[in-house]
Symmetry: D2
Subunit: 346 residues, 4 copies
């Protein structure tokens, strides 16, 4: 039994980490931190955990954290940036679910996050925690930077195709549930305002863009530009990405490419089945699971391939994917704690 | 490993039985039947099961079914009424999720279901499959009649109180999700008509009424009248019941009563915690679990107790509860296959 | 053309007042106040008003307000309590949409709102602004206290019945949309937490209880106790009330009673039509209108009548009802600005 | 007062036509037809119309229809194809809301609708009923073919830009509510299956594609290819289109272009206001209105313009737009019956 600490435990990602780890047969949560809720029972914030844990939130303390071999950090971007560096320096293995160490090029932090990154050296060393692309590096990583939720779905949709096609600009629209914006109330998240929307959230300039491009390049060796737009829709969980790629490709080649990339992946499911009730990816059937559904459609009239991917943003898009990395780091079966069949309908 | 058959596998209850049993370490599904979908892969109807089973639906056949020791039957009311009797006669243990064998008094079938029950003897023998009230009988039952979804929530809400108070009429309102009406499309379930409703579904005359009264009597020895009204609300899963009982009772007595009844129940959770974000039962936090949340509020101005209960209608209200019975019948830990932490938010 | 002022214009009730009055052929909004948003264009807060007005919010100022003959006040409870008294003292007619002057018995403010009412004399003079019960008094009122949203639906449901039956305790459950809680974001209204709920909001002690009892007494001369519980459901607009009354009554008598009370009311619609797709009241079909749908069901087994009513909480439950009062005060056709057919499906 | 007939009155478009026309001061509905519901009161199918009309559905009969000067036809595609031709031949002016006469090139009916068009001559004569592009022709048209719902939003989004840029391929994603699929229940529209989806509906090959391309060409004289994909989201009403155009354009030029095209249009609202709560088009604020909100965002990093448009699919996407055409044909103010402020929040 490995004991880990979870930093930033009051948010939705922190809650999901706890939910998964409390059901994990080889891992135990020894510490859960929260500045604001320190002293409070975890189950009062995360109602689903009532009866499963008597943990209380504790204030984050570097000394205490440094006693753990592995820390999962779900604090907001920037909040633990320096502490993460310190902890890594003290030999702690950190799985960072924030954006703090995702981008290899420090200048992109200035452009997309508005600050000068203080640890460019660590950016080089960090491993982008998407097992499907970096399984081997994850195994021995000291610092894992888990993907953004939209980025997970985007990269898994496009990686196989990126090997097949030339560098180009890809248009991608992503539709996202409200939990992707976190647990903090705001005017925009107020139910009467957020219900029934189909709201342009980031038509341009989305922060996940550089991660997607970075990883497609790392995987394929080619430079793709991903013109991403994101939209808020009226679900709590779920992301659908739709990518438009102008390339002549037949279905058989696409199937072959996607199958050869993902055939043995435990959490990527290819879905394009016109005899089934759910014919193509839809986050409705990914909710509650660590799965990424991937499918595509060919548009011969326009020389276009539309690639679709669907995830639960809090699981494969965040906490589940992090636990998948944790399993790899610990040499466990990757599916440990994650091999749950989703509910339908939900 | 016990092999069971599931009858009536294309509905939502059938799908949930499969979902739960496919994750159950001691039970295997050997056969799944459907008249209409015979020959089709199960995962084409239940999209969540893709990758977890290659079972296909088979036509229901009595000879084939009689080879199993235990059958779970999720066919519509009446569809398997006689076959169930035959199977029981052949020594098969049947867990019936329909209403066919729930009511002890045959005349109630005429009133509420519109037919003369052909097997009144079996009504006597059948065990009402609510473990919290009938655990010992479930263990050795030949025929288990699982509760209706609303009835499960209603009985668990009121049973403890029924011991405390005199016979009386109790007003109960229940608000229910769309999956409680089954998998068959209709004008009333068409999304544009069903979304955004707060629709009186059965203001009077609900079929679950007699089960609730029967079980409260069995538990308390007293005659209660439960004036039930049900409403359709815009969720897919979930039932909330609110019962109004006019009795002078203090919180401490109520707590004591509910705790002594449910203190060791694995799936009943008492919830009345004004320091928590979810202070009282809400199906939102029961979805995906076999839990029944029970809480109450005292209204000194009106001499009233309001008892609240919340379940996932497809799990504790149906398939999960049936598997809990199955575990008891097999002498397994009741939580086998069911001890899953729900997702939040969802 | 009558010029009115709207106080407290940034909330949802203020927005609805503006929407209705901007389409009213005989009334003009001369001033709209907001402390927090003073200087801002109204259409930036209320997006539906873009293109219909160039009004800006102004700070509330008593001198300025006193220039108007009629003021509609949608400020939060307590915020304008004294100013309202001053304005009335200066001869301004005030239509108050807050709870400040609804209750005739000052001690109820202590119990339900937690303060000692400073103007008990004005409580006597104020007219409870429900035209169906107080049309004649509304006409000449100096101060109108508009009903709470749940109270409007509750009173219209029960008033006719109250004449028919003896004093008794009535159980009422009300299910309500998120806009009934106002425009201020909170943890409880955060979309991921508020979506998919069936949440006990006020199982006991709801503030609208005393208004309902007061008005039933005023109408029938009898003392009824209304044991109200309210629930939050996942719609933006709408309230359904369900009242349980134990009385032997046949359908014909009930029809007669309701028809004779509401037969000429422009905004009360009796609905109990088993040949129609919408057979009983449902707020889904009231949304966007000033209608209150009222229906009932008789339960001979339990000697019970279930009365149902459905409104749009922001219209008949608030702003629309206030404009109906305004029309009466001005001697206009009551339907002016309000006679809009709702959209279906929505 | 002009008397018109409405053909195909039981669907959602038929219902909206009735709703709008019943509130129109210069038009009266003299006949409403339905094969299936003949004899039934209109208000039993369209619950919002209760109290506003005592019309009953009548069987469609050509002789009876030919007595009207103007007919609005909301029958399904193909159902009235020949009758429309006959009626036009008899001098009746027909506003056809189906796809039957939208496409100028008959061969596109074979490709997209699967039949050989029997009246290619009428295709030439019919006027595409989008007032913003064809106001003058609408005025004297004998046969108006109203746009598809997605097409309305798409064309209004792109028309201004089409004048500014060269021929190219434009990627467009559209997210749509459930009412856009009509009033007929199906497996896909069953609430438990349709709620919470973000479902690829037509990733390729959408039938509205050729109308969009036809109209952009008619407006700009250039050939655009519009690679359209559509998605079903969990709202009842509303369409958002997002178009990605790779062109270097500055905001000022775009503003100028859009303003000069739509500056005087009564129902097109330019929305790009970062000081407002709703900064860009969102169907949430178009619901219940005949408005099309249009906005855009410039992406300098990718040389991209993202154009956004939002409508209520049943109003500006269908019935409202048809009445706008009717007003033009009758020489009335275009806003007659349509100038309604939408509710917010809804």
């Amino acid at each position: 039994m490995v004991e880990v600490a979870v930093v930033g435990g009051t948010g939705y990602v922190g809650g999901e980490l706890l939910r998964i780890l409390l059901q994990h047969s080889d891992v135990e949560v020894g510490l859960i931190t929260s500045r604001r809720m320190a002293g409070e029972y975890v189950y009062r914030v995360h109602p689903n955990l009532r009866g499963y844990t008597n943990l209380r939130f504790e204030k984050p303390d570097l000394n205490r954290l440094s006693e753990f071999d592995i820390i999962l950090s779900a604090a907001p971007h920037g909040a633990m940036l320096n502490q993460t560096a310190e902890l890594v320096g003290m030999g702690v293995r950190v799985i960072d679910l924030s954006a703090d160490y995702r981008l290899k090029r420090p200048e992109l932090y200035e452009k997309y996050y508005g600050f000068t990154h203080p640890h460019p050296d660590l950016l080089e060393k960090s491993v982008y925690g998407l097992p499907e692309l970096h399984r081997a590096e994850v195994k021995n990583a000291q610092l894992i930077a888990c993907p953004g939720c939209t980025a997970s779905a985007a990269i898994l949709a496009l990686a196989p195709l990126s090997k097949l096609i030339d560098s180009c600009t890809i248009v991608m629209d992503a539709m996202e549930g409200s939990s992707a914006r976190g647990a903090e109330p705001s005017q925009a998240s107020h139910h009467p305002e957020r219900a029934n929307v189909v709201r342009p959230y980031k038509p341009v300039g989305h922060r996940h863009t550089p991660e997607i491009e970075q990883e497609l390049k790392a995987f394929s060796g080619k430079e793709f530009k991903v013109a991403l737009s994101t939209f808020a829709v009226d679900v709590v969980r779920g992301i659908l990405t739709a990518s438009h790629v102008f390339v002549e490709a037949d279905k058989a080649t696409l199937w072959r490419t996607y199958r050869s990339t993902y055939g043995r992946e435990p959490f990527v499911v290819l879905l394009r089945d016109y005899k089934a009730r759910y014919k193509l990816p839809d986050p409705k059937i990914a909710v509650g699971t660590n799965r990424c559904y991937v499918g595509f459609e060919v548009d011969p009239d326009y020389g276009r391939v539309v690639v679709l991917s669907a995830i639960d943003n809090l699981i494969k898009g965040s906490a589940g994917n992090a636990v998948q990395c944790l399993n790899i780091m610990l040499g466990l079966d990757e599916r440990k704690g994650l091999d749950v069949i989703g509910c339908h309908p939900i």
